[in-house]
């Protein structure tokens, strides 16, 4: 195929190399430091810990060792809980920002809503630890108000992990759902009102279905980022129950077992790919 300028004119022979010279550095970087490492990881996952021959033992270990299997179950459960709660909390909030807040304040209201997004991710999880600790803000409030006599164990539980994640993803989903609601043409709502639908029916039968693709994209994003995250479960959940990324890091940190860590990473990626295929219908609509 010939190389043309984007107005269709063929390039003079002397300039043929130019477009490739422009795109090659970026492509080369991606091949060298993204594709090649991925291949290396794939090969590594097929070797034994003590080096040497080709083996599937890393994969079979995952499927036969109940504690590894349990980490995946935990990860999927936490991710599902986080995704559902985050969507349920973020949707009404995004709707209020888009519909109830006067136009000129919307940008400010949205910026405020995502401001904590920009704290360091490590620090944000740590801040929740301050809030949820045995002698932290929440427990002081609970015991101080006389509701509880004893402080409640909140930190180092699954609940703490879920709270930390939901905090992050409510901000993210508010952004995506807000953008989706703003793109919705007001004429749909007017038409529904003209045909006699009340606000509730308009919302349920017009607004909600039309924003469903956006919700699915946001939910998918939540799923991918949540299931692959190490920091929040490690800081807030402690080591009581392991999630997949914690398990991967443990293989590297404590045992130096790169092949097993590689195999676990690849399994994690496979799960994300399956989730992508499951959402593909909505994700494609969004892109079109």
């Amino acid at each position: 195929m010939s190389i043309t300028e984007n107005n269709g004119q063929a390039l003079p022979r002397a300039d043929r190399a130019l477009p490739w010279a422009l795109v090659t550095p970026a492509l080369g970087w991606t091949l060298l430091f993204f594709v090649l490492p991925f291949i290396a990881m794939g090969l590594s996952s097929l070797t034994a810990h003590d080096g040497g021959a080709f083996t599937l033992s890393n994969y079979s270990e995952f499927f036969t060792n109940p504690s590894y299997w349990q980490a995946m179950v935990n990860s999927l459960q936490v991710t599902a809980i986080v995704t559902v709660i985050s969507v349920l909390l973020a949707y009404p909030f995004a709707w209020i920002l888009a519909e109830q807040v006067p136009e000129r304040w919307q940008r400010l209201a949205l910026m405020l809503a995502v401001l904590p997004f920009w704290t360091s991710y490590v620090v944000r999880s740590y801040s929740w630890l301050l809030v949820l600790a045995q002698n932290g803000v929440v427990n002081r409030a609970l015991t101080g108000s006389g509701l509880f006599n004893e402080p409640v164990q909140l930190a180092n539980t699954r609940l703490a992990t879920v709270i930390g994640f939901v905090h992050f993803f409510v901000m993210l989903l508010t952004l995506t759902i807000f953008a989706n609601l703003k793109q919705l043409s007001p004429s749909y709502r007017k038409a529904a009102a003209d045909l006699g639908a009340g606000p509730v029916r308009t919302f349920l039968h017009v607004v909600l279905p039309l924003t469903l693709p956006g919700i699915m994209v946001g939910a998918f994003l939540t799923f991918v980022l949540c299931i692959g995250d190490y920091i929040t479960p490690q800081i807030l959940g402690g080591n009581n129950e392991l999630l997949m990324p914690q398990l991967v890091m443990m293989q590297i940190g404590r045992r130096g077992d790169f092949p097993l860590a590689s195999a676990l990473s690849i399994i994690l990626m496979a799960v994300v790919t399956v989730a992508y295929l499951a959402c593909a219908r909505w994700l494609k609509i969004e892109r079109a």
Binding site: I3, P19, P25, F33, S44, L112, L115, S120, V123, G228
Partner: protein, 260 residues
């Protein structure tokens, strides 16, 4: 009904804002704590923990490392992103859609897996852990972002200016440097500052790929091992301040649009 909805909305919005701001307020408030534990009751205000952070050489050198890695890796990401965006926007290359997909592919993979892959590769190749290795990883995650931002802002109106420059006899490198770069400056700066915020805050890749010299998020992670500590609050508040500055710069550069 209408007033009920208004009141319910306000209550709900305030509750969510409260939830979103709770940890940040607690972080900043207790960074000003006078005593040694960042827990209620508040005994401040005092700046002693900020002094402690600024006199801690491990933290300050990690801070300098972070800024250095963020600035250099973002500069590299934005340069590669700009050149490829320009190439793809101006010329029809065979397999162009596929190649663009390849450049944006790392966006869909978690940082943990990108870091893992590089760790395995560098381990095999015998490349030692260092800030440079981590910086390479940061370019991998930020290049697709810079590419996507700049590519989406490449309008047709710029082509004519470039063509005019070519007709007047400018060689290709002059067109690129003296015409395209200035015209695309807002998108280039936006890409740069956004990558800065991501690289500056990135933890997992730096954690896996550095050893002795490391970045601030990793150093903060090490601090966490000593339990709750107002010093962590102070350094966290400082990181927050830097991020906000970068985000404001990003907003200003991307939103300062010229009339098309």
């Amino acid at each position: 009904m209408r007033t009920f909805l208004r009141i319910a909305s306000s209550v709900y919005a305030l509750a969510i804002y409260g939830f979103i701001f709770l940890p940040v307020v607690v972080l900043v408030l207790f960074s000003l704590q006078a005593t040694s534990f960042p827990i209620p009751p508040f005994t401040g205000p005092s700046l002693r923990w900020y002094e402690a952070v600024l006199s801690d050489t491990r933290l300050t050198s990690a801070l300098v490392n972070s800024l250095l890695v963020a600035a250099l890796s973002s500069a590299a990401a934005v340069t590669l992103g700009f050149l490829s965006a320009w190439g793809f926007a101006r010329f029809h290359l065979p397999g162009s859609a596929l190649l663009r997909g390849l450049i944006t592919l790392p966006l869909t993979v978690s940082y943990l897996i990108i870091g893992m892959g590089l760790l395995v590769l560098f381990n095999w190749a015998g490349i030692p852990k260092s800030l440079i290795s981590a910086g390479i990883g940061h370019v991998v995650i930020n290049l697709p972002l810079c590419f996507a931002i700049i590519y989406s802002q490449m309008g047709d109106h710029q082509i004519n200016i470039e063509r005019a420059a070519r007709d007047l006899g400018a060689p290709e490198w002059k067109v690129l440097l003296l015409i395209s770069v200035p015209v695309m400056a807002p998108a280039i700066f936006a890409g740069f500052f956004l990558s800065m915020t991501f690289s500056w805050d990135e933890f997992v890749i730096s954690f896996l790929l550095t050893r002795f010299d490391t970045t601030l998020p990793v150093e903060i992670w090490n601090l966490l091992r000593s339990g709750l500590n107002p010093k962590t609050n102070a350094v966290g508040s400082l990181v927050f301040a830097v991020s906000i500055v970068l985000v404001v710069l990003f907003e200003l550069t991307l939103l300062r649009k010229k009339p098309a």
